[in-house]
């Protein structure tokens, strides 16, 4: 984390209602440049709703937020250019090759052909995918897919990358290699906003927020949260906060 603490995500009472149902209720927090921010919550707590507002694809009902300095009401297209996104469910086009996926995403984010070519070579070498580059993504093992998807999500060097359960179902060694990549991105100044159901991964975050029934119930460093709730692990903290949740997904 950089010392000047530049704010890259700022929300103020951000709220989303669906009819009478308040999916996200007056969410207020800040995330700093280069920070790894864990966004946790029970199923149905409102994480996805909140994340959709932050990435500019869902209009808030009330409250304010700026992402990379852009307003979530008026500047959603600028937000989309400044961020990267990957999830467990959707990451890459399975029926395109690795090279074609890179070309597609590089093109969407407006990189020049020369720039795409330069970064593509770096990426392929770093992930050791030289002999796979012209193979379909569908043929890659899940762990490789997820590492590739992350690399492509930060291909255009976004200010912030949003990761929605990026490591679900991945083998334990790959899961850790994935986190090595997250650390590296953070070290290079990219802010990482990540959701996970693995509580050991919550420990790798600089700060963690825990959402319950649409509200942020706690927000601090993992060490701070454990101290505050007198718990030995993040698992215990999570269970203490989420066990009385009233909502399902």
């Amino acid at each position: 984390m950089t010392s000047e603490k530049e704010i890259v995500i700022k929300t103020d009472k951000l709220t989303k209602k669906f009819g009478d149902f308040i999916a996200a209720n007056e969410i207020t927090f800040e995330v700093f440049k280069g920070e790894i921010f864990g966004f946790l919550g029970a199923n149905g707590a409102g994480k996805t709703t909140a994340m959709k507002m932050l990435i500019g694809i869902s209009k808030p009902s009330s409250g304010n937020a700026t992402i990379a300095g852009f307003d979530v009401y008026k500047e959603t297209e600028k937000i989309k250019k400044s961020i990267g996104y990957m999830s467990q469910k959707f990451s890459l086009y399975e029926d395109l090759t690795i090279n074609e996926n890179i070309q597609l995403f590089g093109g969407i984010y407006g990189l020049s052909d020369d720039e795409i070519e330069k970064r593509r070579n770096e990426l392929i070498n770093k992930l050791n995918l030289q002999s796979e580059a012209d193979k379909l993504v569908a043929s890659l093992p899940l762990g490789w897919k997820q590492k590739l998807a992350f690399s492509i999500a930060i291909f255009h060097t976004p200010k912030i990358v949003f990761l929605d359960e990026p490591t679900g179902g991945v083998d334990p060694i790959t899961r850790r290699q994935f986190w090595d990549m997250i650390y590296e991105a953070s070290h290079n100044g990219i802010t990482v906003f990540v959701t996970t159901h693995y509580m050991d991964e919550a420990e790798y975050c600089d700060r963690v927020s825990i959402m319950v029934d649409g509200v942020i119930k706690a927000l601090d460093s993992p060490a701070g949260l454990k101290k505050q709730f007198n718990a030995n692990s993040m698992d215990e903290v999570f269970i203490m906060l989420a066990r009385d949740a009233k909502r399902g997904e």
Binding site: L142, G169, M199, F238, E249
Partner: protein, 304 residues
């Protein structure tokens, strides 16, 4: 009699020119009344094994028996005595909660009333929503309904394929408590999960990776086979610590485990003072010898 017996099962899929061996010469057995876990990541072959045992997929090689019945010859009898909860939500989204349960009961020539006591514990949490369509339920509720539907004909064996994937820690805990109560009623259970911490809740487990079983035993015996000295190490700057530990000449492996890194050294009696002086630039340094867990053992086996 074993509830499940699997002998040298192999299953290969082909897509155009690619051949994938999803299940590679797998053998194991599950005793009656046992809670047996298949523990492994996505793509390790868990679902193929489930589909072969529930008689919806044919193996290329090998044999398998469920309640002493052959999965190929006696598939109709097997289908009547098992409950299967596939990994993907597979109930009728446009039927209500009650209609789904009624439907599954009817298919098996029974009624909700007849076996109500078996599902009561789970279903009573759903009853307030019994007129809601299944597609409109929350994730945790869908999971409870799917389990109720798998149980309503009073099966002898339950097959649960990744019932807790994508489920938050609180609901996961509740789900495992339900399984314990079902086991207490004498139902044999085969369950799969990618969450290594759930392995400890099983009587016995098979660790599985890319179609191969790495090891089968009780969770305790599996961690006992780790054999090496394992240390939990932490300092103020964890990322630098990880790199430093990996660069240490006597390190065999080092991986992050939440708030600690787990370090294995390649010596039987390592000199801890030497390690401490190597790490002298780290503040708030903490090194403790610890017992390995299932994930440590899984990773050790993967690296072999």
């Amino acid at each position: 009699m074993n509830a499940i017996e699997v002998n040298n099962i192999t299953k290969t899929y082909s897509a155009k020119k690619n051949f994938v061996t999803a299940v590679n010469d797998v053998s194991f057995s599950v005793a009656e009344g046992e809670l047996f876990g298949l523990i492994g990541p996505d793509g390790s072959g868990k679902t193929s094994i489930f589909r072969i045992l529930t008689t919806v997929l044919l193996a290329d090689k090998g044999t398998a028996k469920v309640m002493n019945l052959d999965v190929v010859k006696n598939y109709t009898s097997i289908r009547n005595m098992i409950g299967y909860m596939p990994g993907r939500f597979s109930l009728y989204q446009d039927l209500t909660v009650e209609e789904n349960l009624n439907f599954f009961a009817t298919i098996f020539n029974t009624t909700i009333q007849e076996n109500y006591e078996l599902v009561a514990d789970i279903y009573k949490q759903l009853e307030p929503f019994k007129t809601r369509r299944a597609g409109k339920l929350s994730g945790g509720m869908k999971q409870k309904l799917a389990l109720s539907c798998a149980l309503i004909h009073k099966p002898k064996i339950l097959f649960l394929d990744e019932p807790t994937t994508g489920v938050d820690p609180v609901s996961r805990k509740e789900f495992w408590e339900m399984l314990k109560r079902l086991k207490a009623q004498g139902i044999s259970i085969l369950v799969s999960t990618p969450y290594m911490d759930e392995a400890n809740l099983c009587d016995r487990i098979a660790l599985i990776q890319t179609g191969k079983i790495l090891e089968i035993d009780t969770p305790q015996n599996i961690v006992n086979r780790f054999e090496k000295n394992l240390y939990a190490v932490k300092s103020k700057r964890m990322f630098n610590l990880l790199n430093d530990l990996r660069a240490y000449s006597k390190t065999e492996s080092c991986f992050s485990f939440g708030q600690y890194h787990h370090l294995v050294l390649n010596e039987e009696h390592p000199d801890m003072n030497e390690l401490k002086s190597y790490l002298k630039d780290h503040t708030e340094l903490e090194i403790t010898q610890i017992k390995p867990n299932i994930e440590d053992r899984f990773m050790q086996l993967m690296r072999k």
